[in-house]
């Protein structure tokens, strides 16, 4: 099979690269014996190549040649993803190529590299390009070699290095499996391709295909291959599989082998935008939550957002038991009835406002549905304008209208000089809606006669 590998490289020889074209070789070695041997090798190689090239979507010589010339890279890379990875020769070459590529400088110009052996130079050049033929999401995954924290970055900086410098060869052979902690032993692993994964994980793949990411993966080949997120799987395969075996990333919360940050880093490589922009430093991030504490990626459970539960609040109630209890109080918003959900008001990935609220303030959040309270009013009730939560507990209470206290006691929190606070229960000051029997416009009045919020 090595022969076929050589032949795969040979077409590059015909591309006018420095080592010359076949005619030049022919003139240098015109003896019949050499010609016969060459023809035999070519035929053998052609036969071997046809065997592998017969598979649909397999890598072709022209593709490799085009890639070596830097042409149609995207198309070729896509085919690389689709190529039959069961082909041992290609797998070996691919692994070798990735290894070489990892050692090479990030922007090496192979044609200009001063190499002693032309054939090796061609092979190495091809290997470097092949090694970089990874999906973008794979490239943006956490890199072990890069300084993992500010202290390391400072140390590198003081040593004259840079955080973006190429990684040491010893560690760069590993993919993202190694995770972000330097203390973690690195696992030597290479990418084996999705088809190898499907040998054992076809059930999971089928369920994943019904999710949004799975659907995108069907139409954009290679974008959501297994190893893009789970890391290179060769060690996992060699070890015979198993949860977390061979450095494979399981993302399970109970998997203690990786930290939350390491696991989240895989997701954030693509998703650190939109609602997740404020994730770093957010309450849930500092609490050590993982994406998979709330989300499930491999199957479709909820209508949107790949949540672990079909009913979104149940995901939040995994931890927020107090909110769940409040929701079952007599006065509550229609959360348990499924009319609103937690994320209508909160962004669990972090926000600019207290309590992870989506809007700029508590009141702005409430105005989304209660716009009649927004005003501005002619006569403003100061604590109302300041914060709705001064009087209301939106998650549920035992008082009317989700008030924190029953009236008139709530009003007495500020208005100690109200009318007859010690009046009996039959008094119009205390029965019914109490103070609001008369002061009905407590959220503000736009009536010229509403100075006492009674109009």
């Amino acid at each position: 099979m090595k022969t076929s590998s050589v032949v795969v490289v040979r077409p590059r020889v015909t591309d006018g690269l420095p080592i010359g074209d076949p005619n030049t070789l022919k003139r240098r070695h015109p003896t019949p014996l050499v010609l016969i041997a060459t023809i035999a090798v070519l035929f053998g190689a052609a036969f071997a190549f046809c065997q592998s090239a017969s598979a649909e979507g397999a890598l072709k010589v022209t593709d490799i040649s085009a890639m070596l010339r830097g042409q149609d890279t995207v198309k070729t890379q896509a085919k690389l993803q689709q190529s039959d990875v069961n082909d041992g020769a290609f797998s070996a070459l691919s692994a070798f190529a990735q290894g070489i590529a990892a050692q090479a400088p990030a922007h090496a110009n192979t044609s200009a590299a001063p190499l002693d052996e032309p054939a090796f130079a061609a092979l190495k050049g091809f290997a470097e390009r092949l090694g970089t033929a990874q999906p973008e999401s794979m490239k943006s995954m956490p890199k072990v070699a890069e300084a993992d924290n500010a202290l390391d970055a400072l140390r590198e900086f003081m040593q004259g290095g840079s955080t973006s410098a190429p990684p040491p060869a010893a560690s760069s052979k590993s993919g993202p499996v190694a995770g972000g902690k330097q203390s973690r032993p690195l696992v030597e692993a290479t990418y084996v391709g999705a088809k190898v994964c499907l040998t054992c994980h076809s059930t999971q793949a089928e369920a994943f295909g019904k999710t949004l990411m799975g659907r995108i993966g069907k139409t954009q080949k290679g974008k959501f291959d297994c190893e893009n997120c789970h890391g290179p799987g060769s060690a996992h395969v060699k070890a015979g599989g198993g949860r977390g075996v061979g450095g494979i990333i399981s993302f399970r919360p109970e998997d203690q082998a990786r930290t939350a940050e390491e696991n989240n880093g895989v997701c954030l490589a693509c998703h650190e935008r939109g609602d997740r922009t404020n994730w770093h430093g957010s309450t849930h991030e500092t609490r050590g939550l993982m994406c998979t504490n709330c989300h499930t990626v491999m199957k479709e459970v909820s209508r949107k957002n790949q949540l672990k539960t079909a009913f979104e609040p149940e995901t939040c109630f995994q931890c927020h038991k107090d909110r769940r209890a409040q929701m079952f109080r007599s006065s509550h918003m229609p959360l348990r009835e499924g009319k609103i959900v937690c994320s209508d008001c909160h962004n669990p990935h972090g926000s600019n406002t207290e309590a992870l609220l989506k809007k700029d303030s508590i009141n702005d959040t409430c105005y989304t549905c209660h716009a009649e309270k927004r005003g501005p009013f002619l006569f403003e009730h100061a604590p109302v304008r300041e914060n709705c939560d001064n009087c209301h507990e939106p998650h549920g209470t035992v008082n009317e209208n989700s008030l924190k206290l029953s009236r008139p006691r709530l009003c007495f929190e500020c208005h100690q000089f109200g009318h007859s606070p010690n009046a009996g229960i039959s008094s119009s000051f205390t029965m019914g809606r109490s103070c609001q029997n008369c002061h009905t416009a407590v959220h503000g009045s736009n009536s010229p006669a509403g100075g006492a919020f009674q109009r």
């Binding site: 650190e272 500092t286 229609p334 600019n352 100061a382 929190e413 416009a441």
Partner: protein, 530 residues
């Protein structure tokens, strides 16, 4: 013998022919299904679309229908239990109901459409339709009905419930005796119904761009409990609960775009620009109620309803990974709230309209602008040790004109200017809230965590009973990260009597002061769990 041989030969030949025929038939049979299969395969190629769905239907009737608020005549004084809480956000009515869930899509996953109908036939039914082209276009349509019932045992004698005019029934004799009221009482539901239609669209032309647009229309109809006073012989007598009409619409709409790319220093970088708008429209600016008391001095009273208003918000967010394992996220947002609905008259009682009650303006021209600037820098000092530095600035700038009313009518019962209140001025309270904080967190393992934090909060008030409040807080969290404690100290600067804003409101209301509620000068609170 020859005949026997001939017969035997004939038999052999016959058997041979039969066997040949049988063989050929079998051979033919072997070939025919193949041809048929091929033809079938040509006629019915693998379907490109898949379909899936469930439909559930049923009917409901009651042998003993629980009370649902259906008018049932005079029930004053009865003790029939209310089912308002049971039917608070739903309404289970006799009749058919159903659930529908349909989905279709292409086998390659590129297109998919989902439709669902939930609680069809009930008062809380909802529908949605999701359609998507995976990785590029996402459209979601929705319609939802949400009732909110406050009472199903309320009784009233007013006609025109739900409208902006509550009138006494014909033949009603004013008075507060049961004989006057009871014959005209009937049950009515107190509650509102929210009908919401919404559409959301998301477009991701490339992996770097993300564009979203949304629109929703919320329609509210129904009644809420309101209170009116002044029908009796004095201002504070005979407060009456009435069903306030609710008939309004809220439209929310937004458009935002986000770009994610690489910064000049080679790190991840996102920029998001967004616009959000909201329009609230109330069908009624006020409603009137006829007085039922025989000793009342007026025939009707008027109560205001929430004014129509608008809000427009613009925001920009930058998130950028920085060198040295740091990340900055900054947001700036500008929100404009406006309200300029025409004032309702000071009173509908012509006798209570002296010349001094001329309004200083026909409408408020209310304007509140808010500015939010939030800045957060997080740094991963070591893999286990992180820092969060934050600063937040929120300016609530109330530019609403302050109007002075030389005289005003607190209740519609006043006559000829007698009893009208003295001057009152509306206040436009503003404030600036600033927060600064630093948090250090050490998490050696997933379960163990030690954190300390410091926070500073400052309020600068304008036209309020407190000028400045400063609050320092410290936060501690330790093992298990579920047992935090905090301590804070708050100090307030209260303006002197000469600088304190005054509304010249009645004495009983003028003391709405947070100065009285927060007299904490340098006090501290003990650590509290949360």
């Amino acid at each position: 013998m020859k005949r026997r041989i001939s017969l035997l030969g004939t038999y052999v030949v016959g058997v041979a022919l039969a066997g040949a025929g049988w063989t050929s038939t079998a051979a033919l049979a072997q070939t025919k299904p193949s041809a048929a299969t091929d033809a079938l395969a040509q006629a019915d190629p693998v379907p490109f679309w898949w379909f899936h769905g469930t439909v559930e239907t049923g009917g409901r009737f009651f042998l003993n229908n629980p009370r649902t608020g259906t008018p049932s005549g005079n029930q004053v004084g009865t003790t029939v239990p209310s089912l308002a809480k049971y039917y608070e956000y739903s309404r289970i009515a006799p009749g058919p109901f159903g659930y529908v869930n349909l989905a279709t899509g292409t086998i390659d996953g590129l297109y998919q459409i989902n439709f669902a109908g939930i609680n069809i036939g009930y008062g809380d039914q909802s529908y949605y339709l999701d359609a998507s082209k995976a990785g590029e276009h996402y459209v979601s349509l929705g319609f939802d009905q949400s009732p909110h019932r406050y009472s199903n045992t309320a009784q009233t004698f007013y006609q025109g419930v739900g409208s902006n005019s509550l009138t006494l029934p014909s033949g009603f004799v004013k008075g507060t005796t049961a004989a006057n009221i009871v014959p005209f009482l009937y049950e009515t539901d107190i509650g509102i119904k929210r009908d919401t239609a919404s559409v959301e669209y998301r477009w991701t032309p490339t992996t770097s761009w993300d564009v979203k647009a949304d629109y929703s229309h919320l329609r509210r109809t129904g009644t809420q409990i309101d209170g009116v006073t002044g029908f009796g012989s004095s201002a504070f007598s005979s407060p009456t609960q009435v069903p306030k009409p609710v008939s309004d619409s809220t439209q929310n709409f937004g458009l935002n775009g986000e770009y994610a790319g690489t910064s000049p220093w080679g790190k991840n970088f996102t920029l998001k620009l967004a616009y959000n708008g909201s329009q609230y429209s109330d069908d009624y600016s006020a409603y009137t109620i006829q007085g039922p008391y025989s000793n009342g001095t007026i025939s009707a009273a008027q109560l205001s309803l929430p004014p129509s208003n608008q809000a427009n918000a613009f925001s920009g967010t930058v998130g950028a990974d920085l060198p040295w394992k740091s990340r900055y996220v900054g947001t700036i947002s500008y929100n404009m709230m406006r309200q300029d609905s025409a004032f309702i008259p000071m009173t509908i009682n012509p006798a209570a309209l002296p010349a001094a009650l001329v309004l200083p303006a026909s409408s408020l021209n209310g304007a509140i602008n808010t500015v939010l600037s939030n800045n957060v820098i997080t740094t991963k000092i070591t893999p286990e040790f992180t820092s969060k530095l934050s600063y937040r600035y929120y300016d609530f700038d109330n530019n609403t004109p302050e109007l002075l009313f030389p005289r005003w009518v607190s209740y519609d019962h006043v006559t000829g200017g007698l009893g009208t209140e003295s001057a009152i001025r509306s206040l436009s309270i503003s404030y600036v809230k600033q927060n600064f904080g630093e948090e250090l967190n050490w998490r050696p393992t997933r379960e163990w965590n030690v954190g300390i934090g410091y926070g500073f909060e400052r309020y600068n008030w304008t036209r309020d009973s407190v000028d400045v409040t400063n609050e320092h807080s410290a936060r501690f969290s330790w093992i298990g990260s579920r047992l935090p404690g905090s301590a804070c100290a708050r100090a307030a600067t209260i303006p002197t009597a000469s600088t304190r804003p005054t509304t010249t409101t009645p004495t009983s209301l003028a003391s709405n002061s947070r100065a009285a509620a927060q007299p904490t000068r340098g006090s501290s609170t003990p650590p509290i769990g949360r």
